[in-house]
């Protein structure tokens, strides 16, 4: 039991430090314009990398993921609320799985 607790504490520490250090030490600090631009673009770059190619293997089979993807893109283009986009995506994959698969 002690072995597990020490292990999880160490895993927790190496997970927490990268989360905590930049925000605590850089908040309120004036950075160069270029660095600020770079940091401002991080969310969009991260989204691109997080979505692709992981989305294709998110539902267990590629075809149902593509159905979900199509529904999500259509709903997002219509600028609907995020909750509707998410439920719509789930519904599209679910319907495909129970009706077509």
């Amino acid at each position: 039991m002690l072995k597990y607790i020490v292990l999880i504490a160490a895993m927790g520490l190496v997970t927490y430090l990268p989360r905590m250090l930049p925000i605590v030490f850089l908040n309120g600090v004036t950075l160069t314009a270029r660095l600020k631009t770079f940091l401002g673009f991080i969310p969009f770059a991260a989204l691109g990398a997080l979505i692709f190619p992981g989305v294709f293997s998110s539902t267990g089979d590629t075809v149902s993921a593509l159905y979900g993807l199509a529904a999500v893109i259509a709903l997002s283009m219509a600028k609907l609320n995020l909750i509707i986009v998410v439920t719509g995506g789930i519904a599209a994959v679910y319907l495909y799985q129970i009706l077509i698969l």
């Binding site: 631009t37 991260a46 990398a49 979505i51 692709f52």
Partner: protein, 237 residues
């Protein structure tokens, strides 16, 4: 009250994250149990780490009998991407944010809370918004873990598979409206996606872990963006 308003806005913004976290956390609980790892290990991991991918990998490595330092190192690399996200958030938060709450709010930085916080806000972010967002996401993650550990099979497989798309749907729902408005956003996101796919698909990069491949794709794409569109320094990301 401004604080409670921001907090509630954060809670509301976190609902799609909670929907996406539940099935993943249930799967984590189930997997922990199926692997024969004591339940309290799964519970503690969700409480203390609160980092999806590294918890799955952690359980996997425990089953394989990996050395503890190996598990800790893998966890570190896998979660190092939050360093970039935390640095980015430090600039989108109000510059005078409470130094008491920042260390607490930073505990809740995940891919999902980071992207929602960064893209949903019109003004500078409030630390109470971040706290609200974190609480609902953290709550869902931990409730899901217990559910998977103690309520056996949980949701039917077909529903769980369908819910696998939830977080991707949220990511796309966040990205598409911004990318439709701004060419620079579109180019940056597509670049990151292309680099990530190349790293995943080219055999020469097989040795790179999931953590590194996300970090590398994100840094290259954001740096390219800063090089191509330096004039957008004041754009609120």
């Amino acid at each position: 009250m401004k604080k409670s308003f921001e907090f509630k806005e954060g809670l509301k913004a976190g609902i799609p994250i909670a929907v996406g976290y539940l099935p993943i956390a249930i799967t984590f609980g189930l997997m922990t149990k199926a692997a024969g790892i004591p339940s309290y290990v799964g519970i503690l991991m969700s409480l203390v780490l609160y980092a999806g991918a590294s918890q799955f990998v952690g359980i996997n490595l425990l089953v394989l009998g990996a050395a503890s330092w190996e598990i800790v190192l893998t966890t570190f690399i896998l979660n190092l991407r939050h360093f970039l996200m935390s640095a980015s958030l430090s600039q989108s938060l109000k510059p005078d944010s409470s130094k008491t709450f920042l260390p607490l709010a930073s505990f809740g930085i995940t891919d999902e809370t980071f992207t929602v916080a960064s893209l949903n806000s019109k003004d500078k972010l409030d630390v109470y918004y971040l706290l609200g967002l974190n609480i609902i996401a953290y709550g869902a993650w931990n409730i899901g873990t217990w559910f998977g550990l103690f309520l056996a099979s949980g949701l039917p497989q077909s529903l769980k598979d369908s819910m696998g798309i939830a977080l991707y749907a949220m990511f796309l729902g966040l990205l598409i409206p911004s990318a439709a408005k701004s060419k620079s956003v579109l180019i940056i996101a597509l670049t990151a996606a292309a680099i990530h796919a190349l790293i995943k698909w080219l055999p020469m990069f097989n040795a790179l872990s999931a953590g590194w491949s996300i970090i590398i794709s994100t840094i290259i794409a954001a740096a390219l963006g800063a090089y191509l569109y330096p004039q957008e320094e004041n754009q609120d990301a």
